[in-house]
Amino acid sequence: MKLPLMVAAVALSALMPAADAANLQERGDPLNSARWNEMHKAFLAGLPYVFDPRVRVIAPGEAENPMQVPVTVDATAIGRVVEVVVFADFNPIVEVLRFFPDGAAAYLGFRVKLQQSTPVRAAVRTADGVWHVGGSWVKTIGGGCTAPSATAASPAWQRQLNMVSARQWRDGELAGRLRLRIVHPMDTGLVAGTPAFHLQEIRLADAGDRPLMRIATFEPVSENPVFTVHQAVAGPVRASGHDNNGNTFSVLIAP
């Protein structure tokens, strides 16, 4: 493990300012998580990795609502990104989501359910096969994964399942930003009597059907997920996807 890591670090350091390169040296997990080695085996096995401050995982240090903890992953400072996997070391279901920023920026905002205080991490795989890992600690009272979804108490969601509300911003600083919300209980399966029921895949494509982003979502993504995505230029976007029970959706989002 150590040799390829060093090779990667040296290769990377040739491409960036000295100060940034110094940050990539192997110094162990900056978040000091007891589970880092397991996380490494589960998600990054076999490939070199570096802890990279250019992978920004923005989340509140103390989360008010463990069922809706906002997380923003911004890997736009890294060149071409192939895949991003987001996980929370101490969650009962560790993997939160994966996204593949094909035509969109390597940026995704979403919300997550946390069961206890935990590091929330993003591992970003670049085309050269190196994982760049960033993360931050979130403190929370927890319980987010074993509390029933709010929609579970009301039958209304069944009529609205997979409904998408969305908007694009064309002007100003946030031009190219797309936000979408999908009605879904995102049940974790950890509440007695409620099986896991969650969105599995969301695909965003432009007017020419070129893929912008694919997001593979898992149980910890919050109920009625809201995503923030960036594309270079606002334009019609097709959003489609399905959950683990085979319910599908496909909508056209005008700019």
Partner: protein, 314 residues
């Protein structure tokens, strides 16, 4: 092992000494008007140091007994409140009001066993549904101050309007906005208005169950009372007693700013983390817990504003 046995009692004695006089809230009744008193809590969040004494409670000395407004965050608080009340008037309480279903206002109910405890209907429902979860949370935040505290739900529902209790006319106002049911009590004899958590003074309002439009309407109702000829004092749910409507205006300004900020942020396309990162305006910089309550409020209020901004479903 034997050494441990010797040490353990010493350690325990040391811990007790460090905690000071055993869990004493040092409640001092503040005389608001003749026969009307309030216990004023600190403008802080719950900690294991303040034991949850961050709330205002009060009582009115009626002709034939005491009328109690809220009972504080723990059994110990309720017991110490009764002790402090007895120093003013030894007669037992006639009735206890719970202004709303938040735990710092009703977890002292247990100390008033045998006294009728009344609240609005939605408050009773809220305590029945969430009381234990609230209590659990306060055990976590306030620690051993909570020992022995259990939820005692109100035993009867009150009908709003003017009632005569303890020989004095009390105006019971059924309002909402801070929670689904917020009781305000106007003592017409003294002109003291107990506003519950509809009004905060010098401390940022909390919003976990807030509906801002209803809350603003409730503030208008309360402000109208402060303009009545007999009005003398306002006891907010948190913060110092006031002789005018200033805390109402302050609470209103905060809520309006909060509502506008959420709407503007959602319309501008901000992600929740970007909304959290916004600085507090200078006008609220002196307000206790402003920054932390803003962040909590983003979590409570931004999702609805966001949903509205994202518009119709496809």
């Amino acid at each position: 092992m034997s050494r441990l046995c010797v040490l353990a009692p010493l350690l325990l004695a040391g811990a007790a000494a460090a905690a000071g006089p055993a869990f004493d809230y040092a409640l001092q009744p503040e005389r608001v008007a003749a026969d009307v008193y309030a216990f004023i809590g600190r403008n802080e969040d719950f900690t294991a140091v303040n034991g949850g004494n961050i709330v205002n409670t009060g009582f009115i000395v009626g002709q034939d007994g005491l009328l109690v407004i809220d009972t504080g965050p723990s059994l110990r608080y309720g017991q110490q409140m009764r002790h402090a009340m007895a120093a003013i008037d030894p007669r037992p309480p006639l009735q206890v009001f719970n202004t709303h279903h938040h735990p710092d206002h009703f977890l002292g109910n247990q100390a008033f066993a045998g006294v009728p405890i009344v609240a609005l209907d939605a408050t009773r429902q809220g305590i029945a549904a969430a009381g234990n979860a609230f209590a659990e949370n306060l055990y976590r935040l306030s620690g051993d101050w909570m020992r022995g505290t259990e939820v005692v739900a109100p035993s009867a529902t009150i009908v709003p309007g003017t009632v005569k209790l303890g020989g004095r006319p009390l105006r019971l106002l059924a309002l909402s906005g801070h929670t689904a049911a917020d009781l305000a009590i106007y003592d017409e004899t003294s002109g003291v208005l107990f506003a519950g958590d509809l009004v905060f003074n010098g401390r940022a309002p909390t919003t976990p169950h807030a509906r801002i439009a209803d809350w603003l309407a409730a503030l208008d109702t309360l402000e109208a009372i402060t303009r009545e000829a007999g009005f003398t004092a306002l006891v907010p749910g948190h913060g110092a007693v006031a002789r005018d409507a200033a805390p109402i205006c302050q609470t209103r300004a905060w809520l309006r700013w909060l509502e506008r900020t959420m709407q503007e942020a959602a319309a501008a396309g901000l992600d929740m983390n970007e909304v959290l990162a916004r600085p507090l305006p200078a006008e609220f910089s002196a307000m206790a817990l402003g920054a932390s309550e803003y962040r909590r409020s983003v979590s409570h209020l931004f999702p609805a504003a966001e949903q509205e901004a994202l518009g119709h479903a496809h």
